[in-house]
Structure formats: C-alpha cells, structure tokens
Amino acid sequence: VKIAVAVKIAASLDDGATLHDGAVDPADLEWDVNEWDLYAVETALQLKEAAGEGEVVLVSVGGEQVSEGLLSCLAMGADRGIHVEVGDEAGALDSIAVARLLAAVIGPESPDIVLSGVQSSDFASAATGTALAALLGLARVAVVRAVRLDDRALEVDRELEGGLVQRLRVELPAALTIQTGINEPRYATLRSIRRAAGKRRDTITPEQLGFDEPASVAAARIGPMAEPPVRGSAEMLQGSASDVADAIASIVRARVS
C-alpha cells in the first residue's frame, strides 16, 4: 500500500509575540509539525504495518522549517519526504493554494491512500485535505477517528456532532482527514532520528511544478491580523459563594425568561 501524507509545519506564537502592522514578527514564531498531522503520520504507519508492505511518503509545503519537521516524521517511520519549498511565501498561501501544490506532487505519486490532519493548529481552516481530495478526484472522508484496511477498501469511522460515529466503507484510492486521538503517535528516538537523516528528502519548487509563483495559486489573499477588540462588558461578581450563586441565577433567569 502506498500512502501519501500531507504534513504542515505549523506556527505558534512564543511568549513575547505581539502584532505589528497586522503581522507577527517571524522571530516570535515557533514551528512544529501540526498536531493533527502527527496523528495522520501515525495512521499511515499503522496502515502500512497492517498491510505488511508499502511506502509512506510525506509531502510538505513551506519554508525552511519544513526540513526539521520532515525529519521528525521520517524518524517516526515514514519512508521519504518531499518538501515544496515556497520560502517566505508560506504565510501568504491559503488552503486552496497549498492543496494545489500538494496535488501537483501527490498526483504523479499515485498513492492508494492520501492522509492529512483535519485542520492545522495555526490557520484552522480545515480545508486543505478536502481540497486536495477534490483536486485529485478522490473519494474523501473527513474527521476520521478509526480506520482499517480491508483489501482494496478502507473501513472508516468518522466523528459526527453529538458524539455519534458514522461508519463508511470506501474503495481505494481515497483521501481521509484524520482527527486527533485516533491513535498514539510514536515518539522519535535518537536512533530513529539518526537513521531518518539518511532517508530521502527531495525539495521541489512551485516553478518546477509548473506554477509561476506560489502566491499565484492562492484563491484568497491573506490580509492583516488583529487582536480581538476588548469589550468592557464583563461583570465581576463579589461576595460570598452563595451571594455569587444567587447573582448568577438571577442573571441567567433574566436572560432566558
């Protein structure tokens, strides 16, 4: 079984981060593999192990941070990685742009299964995996919390609102977006990291994939960011526990009656 996993190296703000002119200073960003994608990588490894053979190929669109992120996923056990190098443009790419770049790499690989996390921890659009499936013309199941390979099909449980689970059977090739908690992503050990350093990591540019410039594939332009306005509408309740409880009860009564 050949499995492609789309991996994002997501940004988080460090303790001292502040906004200047609608943007965060890149020096205030910390980078790590998107949490959802760790579960997707682990899912891929487990599917390959269950199949007894196969290849797990990682594809990541981003800047220089991708190299380290790919190494950590290769250390988990993936077989090779492809970095779509977009340099400083990474922050300007929307989900559709990323999906287009991913599709250009993953399409020719002809994987049986395409996995991604449900969403990224930084942009939280929850769109890339689904857009990727559409661009590749694959059946797609979103928010997957269990998956089992059954010959040329996958049995998949997906999460619905209210704690319900929907079970589906989908023929390969197919694309899934993976929910956190589906498994326990393994930790990279020193030995696995050092072995992974020898695994193949290719770098490719959008130009080599036939795109003029990365931003040209975007469907939307990302505008400035802003802190939410602070509204002084919070009411601090004072007094004993029973006074506070009474006050809360009267507020609730006033709002719901």
Partner: protein, 396 residues
C-alpha cells in the same frame, strides 16, 4: 577576504537531528511525566517510583547512551546532557531515576567492562532489567573519598570478600547492582593505587541496606549500605584490580556535566513556572507580572539559565570532541548548581506562600537543587580544582 564572505560567527545552534531529539523528548516529558506527576511521586518518601522507571524503559531511554551493538541508541555526552535537562525540567531530582543507571551502569561498563560484562549487563540495562546504585562515599568522609575509605575487598578463591560501609547510595534499596569502590590492596606507594571497582549484586549475602531520610529527592531513596563478608565473584570486577581511581578520572567530567544538566533543567522549570504564575496572579488590582521587582527577579532567573546553558553545552561539546574540559566541566557544575538554587529561591519568593506550598513545584526544585551544590563534588572542592588548574598550589 571577499566582501561576499559571511563574517565569522560562533554557531550556538544544535544540529538538526539533536533539535528533533530535544523536541521529541520534550513532548514525551510533557505527556508522560509532567510536573504534577513528578510532584506526586516525589512526595512519597521511601516509595521508589517504579512506574517512572517503567515509562523510561518503555520509551527506550535507559539505552540512550548504550552502544547500538548492545541494543542502545549510542548517544554521546551532549545527547545525555540534553536529555538530562529535559527530564529535570519536570522531574527535578527524580531525573536521577534515569541518570543513576545510565551513569553508574551503562557508562562505566560501556567504557571499562569486558566483552562478557557488556553482553551481560548492557542489554539488560536497555530493557530495564538492571538497576544500578553507586557506592563510593563512606560515612567517615565525603569529598575525601580516598582518605576516608575503610571499605576493603580481600581476594579469596573465585572472587573478593568485601567489608565496610558506604553512604548516600542512591536507590540501593531497589538496585540490582551497586557500583562499588573498595580498597583491594594496602601495600601501595600512593593511596590512589590499590582501589578497585566492583559490580556488587545488591542481594548478595552480607549486604545490608538502610534507607536514609533527606531534604529532597525523597522518593528516590538514598541508603547506607553495610558489607559484612559480602562476596563478589571475579567476573564482576570492573577493569583492572587496583586501577579504579585512574578509571574513574575520565568519567568525572561526564558526571559533572550530567549534574549540571539536571540543574539546567531545573532552571527551565523554575523560569516557566515563575512566568506562568505572575501572568495569572493579581494583587492590588494588577497582574503581578506588571510589578517591576518581580520582572527583575524573572530576568535574573533567565540570565542565570542562559549562563548555565552556555557553560554546560560548551563543556559537553568539548568532552564530545575528546578535548580537555576538566576546568570547564567543574565551572559548569558550580555555576549551574549555584544558579539553580538561587533561581528556585527567587521562584519561591515570586510565588510567595504558594511557592512554599507542597502543591506547587518551586519548593521541590529548591529542595532538589540544593543537593547539586554538594554532590557529586562540593562547589568548594570544584573551586579548588579550578584554582589548581590555574596554576595555584593545591589547597587540600
């Protein structure tokens, strides 16, 4: 030099594989052994944290510095230092649960063991089946190990008969083996000669283990061990008989770097907790993070951490390259332990009453870090060594 040439710069970045290792380890620590878990373990005096040992086993960490041919990861001193730091960030002194066997067991046997001893012990350490304690110090003297040494190993048929007492043998009560230093020959020109290292089975007849009470690292258990005609077979002599002191010297720098790495981890933990606390605590209608004096305390902790970090990583890097580092390792140990104690003390001050509370970690860092100003060498003795390295006459 052409204009295009980049100006010369010192490279303070870890290589990519070690950055990934630190990141992966930090995630493991936060998930498996967070601070509140460590706090619960530590407060149970005389209850060894077997569960922590098992978690380290399951993650393969006992094999971190064991050569790959014996099933380990083949990590060097820098890897050990980075790992020790990450562990101590949450575990504080309980990081010794890992460190003791890694140092007294795999490090010593890895360097000085016969092939047969390596085959016997190293895979067992990797698999968590062999726990080591250390028996160097004696009740009659701490730093002056050789001057105070009364423990004797007398040659008998097939092995050695040991008599004497050792103190501060960490986790000896749950150890399978004690790395034991004993005088095996009285007829020597210098007292550095005639001492031997043994891998003493902790369950041998004639070995009596008594747990001691102490300020910090409570769960880890420190013991006095009395030997009365305890027999250790020839195959458990480590290295050459009578040569132990010369064998230990090369491992001393490693030990100091390890201890200073634990202190560095404590500095990380203290800084994290101090910042988190001042951001949420309010007084006089303000977050206490707005108070300048507390900002200065926190800045001081950050400075102390940065200072220790540079010195510890430099010493580890030198040792890794096989370069002399006795002075640097001693300096790192002094600075890291002094700073960890000062920082934890400031941390308690920042948290006020909550810093003194058993439900926060500051008091635990404070109690645990205090040991490292004493062991594995007192900071006074380390300063003596530094002064001697600077060409001053030996003061002890």
């Amino acid at each position: 030099m052409s204009l295009e040439t980049a100006p010369p710069a010192l490279n303070f970045d870890l290589p990519e594989d070690l950055r990934v290792f630190v990141n992966s380890t930090r995630k493991w620590v936060d998930k498996e052994i967070p601070k509140d878990y460590a706090r619960e373990l530590e407060r149970k005096e005389h209850e060894y944290p077997f569960e922590l040992w098992d978690k380290l086993t399951a993650a393969g960490f006992h094999g971190l510095s064991v050569a790959e041919e014996y099933g380990g990861d083949g990590g060097d001193v820098l890897v050990q230092a980075l790992f020790a730091r990450e562990l101590a960030r949450t575990l504080g002194g309980l990081a010794w649960v890992w460190g003791l066997t890694s140092f007294a067991g795999s490090k010593s046997i890895g360097i000085y063991g016969t092939e047969q001893q390596k085959q016997r012990f190293l895979p067992a350490i990797v698999e968590g089946r062999a726990r080591f304690s250390i028996g160097f110090t004696e009740p009659g003297g701490g730093t002056d190990v050789l001057g105070a040494m009364q423990t004797r190993a007398d040659k008998v048929d097939g092995g050695w008969r040991v008599n004497g007492s050792k103190i501060w043998c960490s986790s000896a009560h749950v150890a399978d083996y004690i790395l034991l230093l004993a005088r095996s020959d009285e007829n020597v020109a210098k007292r550095h000669q005639g001492v031997s290292l043994f891998i003493m089975p902790a369950d041998a007849d004639g070995v009596e283990i008594i747990e001691l009470r102490k300020l910090g690292m409570r769960a880890i258990g420190s013991c006095q061990v009395n030997f009365r005609d305890a027999f250790v077979p020839d195959e458990l002599l480590l290295g050459e008989a009578g040569e132990a002191w010369y064998m230990l010297l090369p491992t001393i720098n490693n030990e100091r770097i390890m201890a200073s790495s634990f202190c560095l981890g404590v500095l990380d933990g203290v800084l994290e907790d101090a910042i988190a606390y001042v951001k949420q605590r309010e007084a006089f209608g303000h977050k206490i993070a707005e108070f300048q004096i507390l900002q200065h305390y926190i800045a001081d902790i950050a400075i102390m951490r940065s200072q220790a970090e540079l010195m510890v990583l430099k010493a580890a890097s030198l040792l890794n390259q096989g370069k002399p580092c006795h002075m640097e390792a001693s300096m790192a140990k002094v600075v890291a332990s002094d700073n960890a104690c000062k920082a934890a003390d400031l941390g308690i001050q920042i948290l006020g009453g909550m810093g003194y509370s058993g439900d926060t970690d500051m008091q635990r860092y404070w109690r645990d870090a205090r040991l490292w100003k004493i062991g594995p060498i007192t900071n006074e003795m380390a300063r003596n060594v530094i002064a001697e390295q600077l060409g001053l006459p030996r003061s002890f």
